[in-house]
């Protein structure tokens, strides 16, 4: 399959390893990965902060970059960005866009997937040949869970990883407190949520807390780093991208 990879602005700039793992994984599964070079950002931060006029060019750019009919599916290692493309772009286009934008947005929306959705639903694989001999706990990010409804898909993928010690995260479905600019505007409430999430993560004794969104992982990981916990964060793609021949070197920095 010819798959368009959207790195997301956060992934491209701050967490390139997660995007790299996504690209390598898909190639390793026999798919053609294309990276439209002028892609930037989906505009989610703008919309969620209350700005809908400003991201119109971003929405347009996304639709243009991935509108090409030869791209059969668009994937991004982020539940919240996929949620933005699937749920928010049409609102922006309808309210502040033109007919061309509305049509472009509808086209890309229909073929946009978060990583675990693409693997399980579209490519029909749960066994991706990964090897990760460490204790891992999975945090289902809110937008993956409740906006995209990815459900058990990430866990199915993780359970199929060779040598993994997957442990359940207590109160997994509660928000980590990130929420984009929420963590800035309501930093103290966000911190209170983060503390509970970290307590649950640390209680599992996991080496790694994983998720499908680098933004939530930046939040959880930032907190775990501050309290010098022994648990680090890794994107789901990095675990799925770890193989027997090129295992993820967990002793090095997580990023």
């Amino acid at each position: 399959m010819r798959i368009g990879l959207f790195a997301t602005c956060l992934g491209d700039t701050l967490f390139p390893e997660a995007v790299r793992s996504t690209a390598v994984l898909l190639a390793r599964l026999g798919h053609e990965v294309v990276f439209p070079p002028d892609q930037t950002c989906c505009g989610q931060m703008h919309v969620n902060t209350g700005y809908q006029r400003e991201p119109v060019p971003l929405v347009r750019n996304f639709a243009e970059q991935f509108g090409d009919a030869s791209i059969e599916a668009v994937v991004m290692p982020s539940g919240s960005c996929a949620g933005s493309v699937r749920h928010q772009h049409e609102i922006i286009a309808a309210r502040y866009g033109d007919a061309a934008l509305r049509s472009g947005v509808a086209t890309v929306k229909a073929k946009t997937y978060e990583l675990s959705e693409l693997l399980v639903d579209v490519l029909g694989v749960t066994q991706v040949g990964a090897y990760f001999p460490h204790r891992v706990t999975y945090h289902p990010t809110c937008h993956s869970l409740r906006m995209l409804r990815v459900g058990e898909k990430p866990l199915k993928l993780l359970r199929a990883v060779e040598a993994i010690d997957l442990v359940e995260l207590p109160e997994a479905d509660s928000c980590c407190g990130f929420g984009g600019t929420f963590a800035v505007k309501n930093a103290e409430t966000s911190t209170a949520m983060l503390q509970d999430k970290m307590r649950n993560v640390c209680g599992t004794g996991a080496d790694v807390c994983t998720a499908g969104d680098s933004s939530c992982l930046m939040h959880i990981g930032g907190g775990l780093s501050r309290i010098r916990s022994g648990t680090r964060t890794l994107h789901l793609a990095q675990i799925l991208g770890s193989t027997r021949t090129t295992p993820y070197p967990l002793t090095e920095a997580a990023r």
Binding site: T49, A187, A253
Partner: protein, 513 residues
């Protein structure tokens, strides 16, 4: 976010509501104090965890739960669409059955109507059933100012009233208090209470029973709210647990019911939906212990003087917004509060309004306005959410609260004029809208690595990010962005090797076939 709804330019709206619909501080400022209260955090955490489990259990056992939610949502939406005719029908039926209907444009007018009706009875006391509408209008304070004593009879409302406190939850107004605190409040405030009273909930409830029994037996006027008002029959309904509602609705000579205009339902049959949705969502029970249904006046049974006060107080302002009006569909079950991670930490008082939690964050600004001036506490409410979406999932009438929050944030920024934040957002969009600028900015960010401290992390950031960095490290940008890696020789080689491996696997796969 499935429907599209036109330009957000505010239409000429009805006046906003009056009363307890605005705090005196912004949400972050109020939350700052509440978060420091460890006791509050523990009380709320324990209570909301309990109720979440119960709710999931009883909603999970109904195979048609989602169908009930769909029906409930549609019935409420249809109600809003036909509100004038339904209210007129309700009025007609209540009047025909011996009741008197009053209309109140705002909270002050409702308070005046109730006070006038109470005075006409000559009573200096009223007993009250827990009512959000009269909490919203500040009825108790108004009655007290006129020398009329209101007695709250719901246990939690009684606790709040005795403690001179404010409710912090729609269903359980004293959720922020634990049994030890409640015991102390009773010891301090209930005249003649047994000084050996302990903290066992059953004993505390018994103390409230003994205290209120005499009030029920002797007070001639009651004030209630209403959960539902049926247009088709003129039937009103109060859903409760303790029996204090039955006492108030049955024993006095005069009953005054204050009901928001959005509480009307078209048909008696609609109760078959809401009597399933409400108790399971609210207390997590299959059915609450008591529900009363009454229609006007029944000779020989209950109050012979019945008044219904229909309250606007900002509801028509909310109704004029295509997205916002769905907030009026709320049946006050409080499921959204119980699943909200923000509510669980900050508590109900931080919202400053009668309506806390996720539904409060969308309802309050619409009922009372969110004046774009930065210091209006109500304009901070739409931001008091991480948009985690748990409220939408829990809502029995499927109110899409996260989408509504995003919409209200947009309305707020549209009305705010030029702010530093807006300029920053414009600048960010300008960079991200131009791929070359964006790539250049990424390179500049990578240079920012030099400010990184231990392990390449940033531990102190300037305002407005200082709240973030108080408890989180931030990774310094790595040397190379993903796109730079992909364009590098290393990136190309890695991708080529992966593709070759993929091709080999593909061949293996072919051979297996």
């Amino acid at each position: 976010m499935s429907t599209f709804l036109g330009m957000p330019a505010p239409p000429p709206r009805s006046p906003y509501g009056t009363g307890n619909l605005r705090g005196d501080r912004t949400f972050p400022a109020a939350a700052h104090d509440e978060l420091r209260n460890g006791q509050l955090r523990r009380n709320l955490g324990k209570a909301t965890r309990t109720i979440r489990g119960k709710r999931l259990h009883v909603t999970g056992e109904l195979p048609d739960w989602e169908a009930l939610r769909d029906a409930g949502s549609a019935i409420k939406t249809d109600t809003m669409n036909r509100l004038p005719e339904l209210l007129e029908q309700l009025e007609r039926n209540v009047t025909e059955r011996g009741g008197t209907v009053h209309w109140a444009r705002d909270g002050d007018e409702a308070n005046e109507i109730v006070a006038r009706l109470v005075r006409a009875t000559g009573s200096s006391d009223v007993i009250k059933v827990k009512s959000m509408a009269t909490q919203e209008t500040g009825l108790n304070e108004h009655l007290e100012s006129l020398g009329i004593t209101p007695h709250e009879t719901d246990l939690a409302e009684l606790i709040v009233q005795l403690a001179h406190d404010r409710p912090s939850h729609i269903l359980v107004p004293a959720i922020h208090r634990n049994r030890d605190e409640i015991r102390q409040i009773f010891l301090d405030e209930i005249p003649g209470v047994d000084p050996r009273l302990d903290n066992v909930p059953a004993h505390l409830a018994a103390a409230a029973r003994a205290y209120l029994r005499e009030k029920f037996m002797t007070t001639r006027v009651a004030v209630s709210g209403a959960n539902f008002g049926i247009a088709e029959t003129g039937t009103l309904s109060v859903v409760e647990s303790e029996g204090n509602g039955r006492m108030c609705l049955t024993l006095p000579d005069t009953l005054i019911t204050v009901m928001g205009i959005e509480k009307v339902l078209p048909r008696y049959q609609d109760l078959e939906v809401f009597l399933q949705l409400l108790p399971r969502s609210s207390t997590g029970e299959r059915m609450n212990p008591y529900t009363s249904l009454w229609t006007g006046v029944t000779p020989g049974d209950g109050p012979q003087d019945f008044h219904l006060v229909l309250l606007d107080n900002g509801r028509t302002a909310a109704l004029a917004d295509t997205i916002g009006r769905a907030a009026l569909n709320c049946i006050r079950c409080s499921a959204c509060l119980n699943v909200c991670p923000v509510y669980e930490r900050a508590g109900g008082h931080a919202y400053g309004s009668t309506y806390p939690g996720p539904i409060g964050a969308v309802l309050t600004p619409q009922l009372a306005g969110m004046h774009a001036a930065k210091d209006d506490p109500n304009s901070s409410l739409p931001y008091a959410s991480s948009l985690c979406g748990a409220c939408f999932d829990a809502c029995p009438v499927k109110i899409d609260i996260p989408s509504m929050l995003v919409e209200l944030r947009h309305q707020n920024t549209e009305q705010s004029g030029t702010t530093a934040e807006k300029l920053a957002m414009k600048a960010a969009a300008a960079v991200m809208g131009r791929p070359k600028l964006y790539t250049a900015a990424q390179k500049a960010a990578a240079l920012g690595r030099v400010v990184g401290g231990r392990d390449g992390t940033l531990s102190h950031l300037p305002a407005p990010f200082s709240g973030w960095s108080d408890s989180r490290d931030t990774p310094a940008p790595p040397k190379r962005s993903f796109r730079a890696w992909l364009a590098s020789a290393e990136g190309a080689a890695t991708m080529r090797a992966a593709a070759e491996e993929g091709a080999r696997h593909g061949d293996d796969h072919q051979e297996e076939k």
